[in-house]
C-alpha cells in the first residue's frame, strides 16, 4: 500500500488516499477515514441486503481475533481464508487483535503471550499461534501482536515499559514468520506503538517500531476513557514526530467525533468504525452537525437553537464522561425518550439513509420501547451513514481549510432535535 498525501497541515493533519490496498492492490481508502467495523465479518445487525442500503461503505473490513480465534479449527479445515468463509466479496480484510467496542481485561499478557476473549472464554496466543491463526484467516492486512494492557489509570511506569518491550519483541517474532511465509505474500503488517500515558515510552516505542519494516503504525493504549483527550493528542504528536510521513497511522479505540477531530489534527489517518455500533446499542441515533457549507441563514438558526437547548437536561459538550463507553454522548439523540413518541420527522433531516427515507422517529421509538430487533437494524444503518458522512466532511474540511469551522459545528453546535 502507498500513502499519497495531497495535503499536510503544519505539524499535524494529513489528507490523502491510501492506494494499492489489498493483496491485489485494487482498493483504495481515503484518509482520514475509518474502517468497517464487524463482528466476525458481519456488520452488527445487518445482512447483505440491509448493508447495501448504506452508500459510502469503507473499502476495508475489520475483523478481530477475539471473534475469530475460537474458530481456528473450522477455518483450517475450510482452507480458503476468512473472506471466502464469511461471504465477503470485493473488500479488503484488516485483522486486529481486539474488538475496539469492548474492553479486554488486564493482567493476562506475559512475555510470550497475549490473550483474547471469545464467546467461550480466554484464548492465549503465542506469537507463533498468532501467526498461524493469521495464515488461516488470510487477511490483506493485520496488526502485529501487542501488549496493550496499559489502558487502566495508574498503570505503573514499569508495566508500561514492559508493554513497549514486549510489543517490540512480539513484532520481531511476527516479522520473522511474516517474511518467511509464502501464505502472507502481499499482506501488509502494521507495527503497534505502545507507551501508556508516558511520553518517553511513547517516543521510544514509536522510534523503535519505525526501525522495523512495517507498512504502517497502530497506536494502542489510547482508547476513549483510558487517557485525558488533551494528553492523548500530545502523546500522538510525540509519536508521529518519530514516524515516517509516508506511512499511515491507525488509532485504535477512539471513535467519538470530537476526539476523532482532535486526533486527525495530531496526525492520525485511520480510525476503527465501532462508534456507530455503540450508539446503536444504547438505542440512540447520531445527529450531530458536520455541515460546513456556507449558509447565512444557518448562522441565525444556530444561535436560536443554542438558546433553546440551554435548559436541556443534557450532558455538556466535551465532557470527560468517557469512562463509561455506554454513556450517551452529546452527539446523539435518545430515541427511547418520550418526546419522540409522536414525532413524525425522520431521524435527521437531509440524511438520506434507508432509515431516514422510510421511517420516522415515532416508529423507532416504538421499536425501542417494545424491544424489537428491527430497531438495531435501522439504527445501525442510520448511524453508519451519519458517521461515514462525517468522515467525508472531515476530508472536505481539510481540503478547503474549514477544519476549525467543522470543529465548531461538531463541538459547539446544538443537536438537531
Amino acid at each position: 500500500m502507498k500513502l499519497e498525501l495531497s495535503r499536510v497541515i503544519q505539524g499535524g493533519a494529513r489528507l490523502g488516499v491510501l492506494q494499492g490496498v489489498g493483496r491485489t492492490g485494487q482498493h483504495s481508502l481515503k484518509v482520514p477515514g475509518c474502517l468497517l467495523y464487524t463482528h466476525f465479518g458481519t456488520v452488527p445487525h445487518l445482512t447483505q441486503d440491509t448493508l447495501q442500503t448504506v452508500n459510502n461503505l469503507p473499502s476495508v473490513t475489520q475483523v478481530t481475533l477475539s471473534n475469530i480465534a475460537e474458530h481456528q479449527e473450522v477455518l483450517e479445515e475450510f482452507k480458503e481464508g476468512f473472506k471466502t468463509f464469511a461471504g465477503l466479496h470485493n473488500t479488503v480484510l484488516y485483522c486486529s487483535l481486539h474488538d475496539p467496542a469492548t474492553r479486554s481485561p488486564t493482567g493476562y499478557a506475559t512475555n510470550k503471550t497475549v490473550s483474547v476473549w471469545g464467546s467461550g472464554g480466554r484464548i492465549e496466543l503465542t506469537a507463533s499461534k498468532f501467526m498461524a491463526l493469521l495464515k488461516t484467516v488470510k487477511p490483506d492486512w493485520y496488526q502485529s501482536m501487542a501488549d496493550g494492557e496499559t489502558w487502566q489509570t495508574n498503570t505503573s511506569r514499569k508495566r508500561i515499559r514492559k508493554s513497549v518491550d514486549r510489543t517490540l519483541a512480539y513484532l520481531d517474532e511476527c516479522l520473522l514468520v511474516h517474511q518467511k511465509s509464502q501464505d502472507l505474500d502481499g499482506v501488509e503488517l502494521f507495527g503497534v506503538v505502545e507507551g501508556g500515558d508516558v511520553m518517553e515510552e511513547r517516543v521510544r516505542s514509536a522510534r523503535e517500531t519505525a526501525k522495523r519494516p512495517v507498512a504502517g503504525f497502530c497506536f494502542d493504549g489510547l482508547q476513549t476513557g483510558s487517557v485525558d483527550p488533551a494528553l492523548r493528542t500530545q502523546l500522538i504528536t510525540s509519536m508521529t514526530k518519530e514516524l515516517p510521513e509516508d506511512k499511515p497511522r491507525l488509532l485504535q479505540g477512539v471513535g467519538r467525533p470530537d476526539e476523532v477531530l482532535a486526533c486527525v489534527e495530531a496526525g492520525v489517518d485511520l480510525f476503527e468504525g465501532f462508534f456507530p455500533f455503540q450508539v446503536t446499542e444504547r438505542g440512540c441515533a447520531l445527529c450531530f452537525n458536520y455541515d460546513v457549507s456556507p449558509d447565512p441563514e444557518r448562522a441565525v438558526l444556530e444561535l436560536n437553537e443554542e438558546k433553546h437547548s440551554a435548559g436541556d437536561n443534557v450532558q455538556p459538550k466535551g465532557d470527560l464522561n468517557c469512562e463509561d463507553q455506554t454513556q450517551m454522548t452529546s452527539f446523539e439523540m435518545n430515541l427511547k425518550d418520550k418526546r419522540y413518541q409522536d414525532d413524525f420527522k425522520s431521524l435527521v433531516e437531509g440524511c438520506g439513509c434507508y432509515c431516514c427515507k422510510n421511517h420516522q422517529r415515532a416508529y423507532l421509538h416504538h421499536l425501542l420501547v417494545t424491544n424489537e430487533l428491527l430497531a438495531g437494524v435501522l439504527l445501525m444503518i442510520h448511524n453508519m451513514t451519519h458517521y461515514q458522512n462525517f468522515f467525508s466532511a472531515v476530508r472536505e474540511a481539510l481540503a478547503t481549510d474549514k477544519i476549525n469551522l467543522l470543529k465548531k459545528r461538531v463541538n459547539g453546535e446544538a443537536r438537531n432535535t
Binding site: 463482528h39 466476525f40 465479518g41 458481519t42 456488520v43 452488527p44 445487525h45 445487518l46 445482512t47 447483505q48 441486503d49 440491509t50 442500503t53 471473534n67 475460537e70 474458530h71 479449527e73 473450522v74 479445515e77 475450510f78 468463509f85 464469511a86 461471504g87 471469545g118 464467546s119 413518541q341 409522536d342 413524525f344 434507508y354 422510510n358 421511517h359 420516522q360 415515532a362 416508529y363 416504538h366 421499536l367 420501547v369 417494545t370 424489537e372 430487533l373 428491527l374 438495531g376 437494524v377 435501522l378
Partner: protein
C-alpha cells in the same frame, strides 16, 4: 336510479381448482395489491417482522402479513397509529395487512382475563389498568390500524376444552360477529372475516357454519384449532368446515404453519394461513428445509460448508454456509435475521410451488413428491396426514 355500487374491498377469482382434492388457486384482490393463494402470511406482531425490513419482506415476495391488535392496541395505541396514517403508514408497508382481533392473546397471554357477554375483561400488563376488549373496541382499534382484513372478536376457547363452555363460546361468537359487522366504520376499505368456532364437535361446528355463512362478510376463518388438539380431530374439523363454506369466499385457517399441515390443509380446501412458528424458530437457529429442519447451532454444522439448502435461492443461501451461520450465532444477532429471511423464503416458496402445481393440474403428484422428500420412509408419514389426504382422494405411495 340505480344505487352506486361500491367497489368491494375484496374480490376472489378462482384461477384453478384441483379436480382431485378440494384445493384451489385464487387471486385475492385486496385494497393494497393482489394476493396469490394459497398463501402463507408471516406474522409481524408489533408492527414489524422481527429483524426484517419492509423492503426485505417485499423482495421475498410477501403480499400480505399480520399485525396484532392486542399488542398494537397497547403500544403504541390506536390514536398514535391514526396520526401515522394507519399501520401501513406507521411501519411503511405498502402491501396488505391482516389484523387479528386480540381475542387469542386475551386467552393465551393474559392470565386473569374474564369473558362476559360484553367482552373480555383483563388487566393491562403494562400499567395494571382494567380493560375491556369488546367486539366494538376491537373493531375500533382495527379501524384505526386500517388493515385490509380485520378479524371478528371471537370467544376463544382452547381446543382441549370440552363441555358446555364450547357451545356457549360458539353462540357468543355469532353474536359478537354481528356486533363486529355493525361496528365496522370502513366497510368499503376494510374487510371483515368471521371466525368459525365449535371446538372439536361436528354438530357445533355445523351450527356455527350455518349461522355465520348467512352473514355478509368478505371471508371466513376456521378458528379454535391448531391449539394442541389431536391431529386426527384437527383435520376432520378443517375439512368439515370447508365443506360448508362458500366457494366464492376465501378460507383462512388460523395458526397453521408447519409445512406438512399447510400442504394437507390446502388439499382440504383452505386458502390462507398464518403462524409465528417459521419466524420464531428461525431466531433459535432452526432453518426450515424440504426434508424437515436443520438446527444450525448444533455442533455438527460447525464445519458444514454447504448453504442451508443448496437449492434455495434466498439471499442467505446464496451467500452463506451453515458453518458461517453456526459461528455467527456466537457473535451477532444478524445470524437470526439470516435464518428468518431463509425461513420466510422457504414458506413463501412452498406456497408458490403448491399454487403452481394446482394451476398446472398436478397437485396430487406434488403432494406425493413433497411427502417423499420430507420423510425418510413411508412408515414415517404421519397417520393423520395419510388419512386426511385419502379423504380427498390422494393416496400416498
Amino acid at each position: 336510479m340505480a344505487a352506486a355500487v361500491e367497489p368491494s374491498p375484496l374480490t376472489l377469482r378462482i384461477v384453478a381448482e384441483c379436480p382431485v382434492t378440494k384445493a384451489r388457486a385464487c387471486d385475492l384482490t385486496l385494497p393494497h395489491c393482489t394476493v396469490n393463494t394459497p398463501v402463507f402470511m408471516p406474522v409481524g406482531t408489533q408492527g414489524t417482522l422481527k429483524g426484517i425490513t419492509v423492503d426485505q419482506l417485499e423482495s421475498l415476495g410477501c403480499q400480505i402479513c399480520l399485525g396484532n391488535t392486542y399488542h398494537l392496541g397497547m403500544r403504541p395505541g390506536p390514536d398514535l397509529i391514526v396520526k401515522a396514517n394507519g399501520l401501513h403508514g406507521f411501519m411503511n408497508w405498502k402491501r396488505n395487512l391482516l389484523t387479528d382481533s386480540g381475542g387469542f392473546q386475551m386467552v393465551s397471554l393474559v392470565e386473569l382475563s374474564e369473558v362476559t357477554e360484553e367482552g373480555v375483561n383483563f388487566k393491562s400488563p403494562y400499567d395494571g389498568k382494567e380493560i375491556l376488549l369488546s367486539p366494538e373496541k376491537s373493531i375500533s382499534i382495527q379501524n384505526s390500524l386500517g388493515s385490509d382484513i380485520m378479524m371478528q372478536l371471537d370467544d376463544v376457547v382452547s381446543s382441549t376444552v370440552k363441555g358446555p363452555r364450547v357451545e356457549e363460546a360458539m353462540h357468543r361468537s355469532i353474536r359478537w360477529l354481528d356486533r363486529c359487522i355493525a361496528a365496522n366504520k370502513n366497510p368499503d376499505k376494510q374487510n371483515l372475516f368471521a371466525i368459525i368456532q365449535g371446538g372439536l364437535d361436528a354438530e357445533l361446528r355445523k351450527a356455527c357454519l350455518k349461522e355465520m355463512t348467512q352473514r355478509d362478510v368478505s371471508g371466513f376463518a376456521i378458528g379454535g384449532l391448531s391449539g394442541g388438539e389431536e391431529k386426527n380431530d384437527f383435520w376432520r374439523m378443517v375439512t368439515l368446515s370447508t365443506d360448508h363454506l362458500p366457494q366464492e369466499k376465501p378460507r383462512y385457517l388460523m395458526g397453521v404453519g408447519y409445512a406438512v399441515d399447510l400442504v394437507v390443509c390446502v388439499a382440504l380446501g383452505c386458502d390462507m394461513f398464518d403462524c409465528v412458528f417459521p419466524t420464531r424458530t428461525a431466531r433459535f437457529g432452526s432453518a426450515l428445509v424440504p426434508w424437515g429442519s436443520l438446527q444450525v447451532k448444533q455442533k455438527q454444522y460447525a464445519k458444514d460448508f454447504l448453504p442451508i439448502d443448496p437449492d434455495c435461492h434466498c439471499p442467505t443461501c446464496k451467500r452463506h454456509s451453515r458453518a458461517y451461520l453456526h459461528a455467527l450465532f456466537k457473535s451477532d444477532t444478524a445470524a437470526m435475521h439470516h435464518v428468518t429471511v431463509h425461513n420466510i423464503a422457504y414458506q413463501l416458496s412452498l406456497m408458490r410451488s403448491v399454487r403452481q402445481s394446482i394451476v398446472e393440474g398436478r397437485f396430487p403428484e406434488f403432494i406425493r413428491a413433497f411427502m417423499k422428500r420430507m420423510f425418510p420412509s413411508r412408515d414415517d408419514y404421519p397417520g393423520w396426514a395419510v388419512d386426511a389426504l385419502a379423504s380427498v382422494n390422494v393416496t400416498l405411495d
